[in-house]
């Protein structure tokens, strides 16, 4: 068997389009997912029992089931339940946002917890209002502490996003699979696809480590 990686170059436009779709999907879901995750973290630490219960069930359910199953459920079952048609993109975005919300909420929750009671005492002693406490002290510290783990959540999401190819979304994985089927060159094509994912994920995971060091130093924790 001879390998011919030149064949991949022929399909570079298609692969780039697929990559663009993957990045777009990932970024949108990171944005919505983080907002959802922060709100969920607040709900899970709230004193309201109902809020705490609902958010806990949600988070545990989405952390405890395969993303592929979630995706299929939203793609095939949700339209039946709601009685509306969902585009591939919409169901992909919904599924990955819900997933990102669940995993990032845990990250935010840990970060909120780390902003200790002593910091709150200092806020009270300085007469800061509850609003000023949250926006000027708790939120910046929580985001700083959460940043490294959040970034690795983002890398997970980026990689998991390949699952949307299973419901026919034309992302990088989907395009790669199609090309490999049509050309009967799975080794070359799928290797290149893997390398593209790696080329993006690897620097980000390195960045997590660097960032952790910086933040640890800055917050002295």
């Amino acid at each position: 068997m001879t390998l011919d990686f030149a064949i991949v170059v022929k399909y570079q436009d298609a692969l780039l389009l697929g990559l663009w779709m993957t990045l777009k999907l990932t970024l949108i879901c990171i944005l919505f997912g983080c907002v959802l995750g922060f709100l969920l973290a607040l709900a899970r630490t709230s004193s309201n029992v109902v809020l705490r219960g609902v958010s806990s069930v949600y988070v545990e359910f989405f952390r405890g089931t395969p993303v592929l199953v979630q995706l299929f459920w939203i793609f095939f079952c949700l339209p039946l339940v709601l009685g509306i048609e969902l585009s591939n993109l919409a169901s992909g975005v919904i599924a990955l946002t819900l997933y990102m919300g669940a995993i990032s909420s845990e990250t935010f929750r840990a970060a909120l917890k780390a902003v200790g009671r002593e910091q709150m005492d200092a806020c009270v002693a300085l007469g800061l209002s509850p609003f000023a406490r949250t926006t000027s002290v708790v939120l910046p510290q929580a985001v700083l502490r959460a940043a490294p783990t959040l970034l690795s959540n983002c890398v997970s999401l980026f990689k998991e996003s390949a699952l949307v190819s299973a419901v026919g979304m034309a992302d990088l994985m989907f395009v790669g699979q199609n090309i490999s089927n049509n050309t009967a060159r799975p080794i070359e094509v799928l290797t290149v696809v893997a390398l593209i994912y790696f080329a993006i994920a690897f620097p980000l995971t390195r960045a997590v480590t660097v960032m952790e060091g910086c933040i640890l130093k800055k917050l002295a924790i």
Binding site: E118, A122, V124, A125, L126, G127, S136, L219, A220
Partner: protein, 255 residues
């Protein structure tokens, strides 16, 4: 406010955790505007809790506190009412500095004046720099707390509290977490404040410091005031048996 009226009047203060662990059991203290009160006593005797109550950080079971003639803290059927406006005239410095780690030294100092009083950043920074200069920290203004020594952090914490022009300062074991060689620089700053007639309540285990700064020493144990008087009397020739025992033990450890 007439001179004779107390700055702080604490009456019948009771505080427990869950009704079981009784920390304060009927505390009565009157403090005049010129007083520098040092509270000493065994661990768990209620000293720190007293300061935390005065700062409005703790709920109380019963009793009341008034500040400059105004009712400040009162227990009202299981709820603790705290006058937030009065609270703003009291500043507190904690054992573990509690600086905001995400803000620079300057940022720590100007946050409350800007958020609480709506002061402009430029004006607040100018006042902050003046304070930092006075405390020998001007060159640290742009540093972050993690880059400072314990002594520097604690001086920044004192400056941060002073930014709000408090009428009373509370110091809760502010040198206990410090390396011995850093204690003096913090105590120096507090002595400086004392010379400017700042009313203060200090909880400390440092008897040398207590003797030097106090106009009055209160020995607190078991949640009540056991002895209360001028430093030379309470520290030098205590009347009560418990006070004498405690002082002997502390000085024995020190010397």
């Amino acid at each position: 406010m007439p001179d004779s009226a107390p700055l702080v009047r604490i009456e019948g203060l009771h505080k427990s955790y869950g009704g079981v662990v009784k920390v304060l059991q009927g505390l009565d203290i009157e403090m005049k505007a010129g007083d520098r009160v040092v509270v000493i006593g065994p661990s768990g005797g209620g000293k720190s809790t007293l300061l935390r109550v005065l700062m409005g950080l703790e709920k109380i079971d019963s009793g009341s506190v008034s500040f400059a003639g105004k009712s400040y803290i009162s227990a009202d059927g299981g709820r603790t009412a705290i006058d937030a406006k009065v609270r703003r005239s009291i500043g507190m410095v904690f054992q573990h500095y509690t600086l905001f780690p995400h803000l620079s030294v300057l940022g720590n100092l100007v946050l409350a004046p800007m958020k609480v009083r709506g002061e402009k950043r430029a004006a607040a920074e100018e006042r902050a720099m003046a304070l930092l200069t006075r405390f020998g920290l001007a060159q640290k203004a742009r540093s972050y707390p993690a880059q400072l020594s314990g002594g520097q952090k604690q001086r920044v914490a004192i400056a941060r509290a002073l930014m709000l022009d408090p009428k009373l300062m509370l110091f809760d074991e502010v040198t206990s977490a410090l390396d011995p060689e850093l204690v003096a620089e913090v105590e120096q700053v507090i002595l400086q404040l004392a010379q400017q007639q700042m009313p203060m309540v200090i909880v400390t285990h440092d008897m040398w410091f207590a003797r030097n700064i106090a106009s009055r020493v209160i020995f607190c144990a078991g949640g009540v005031v056991v002895e209360d008087g001028p430093p030379e009397q309470v520290l030098g020739s205590p009347k009560g048996e418990r006070t004498r025992e405690f002082i002997e033990r502390v000085f024995h450890i020190r010397h």
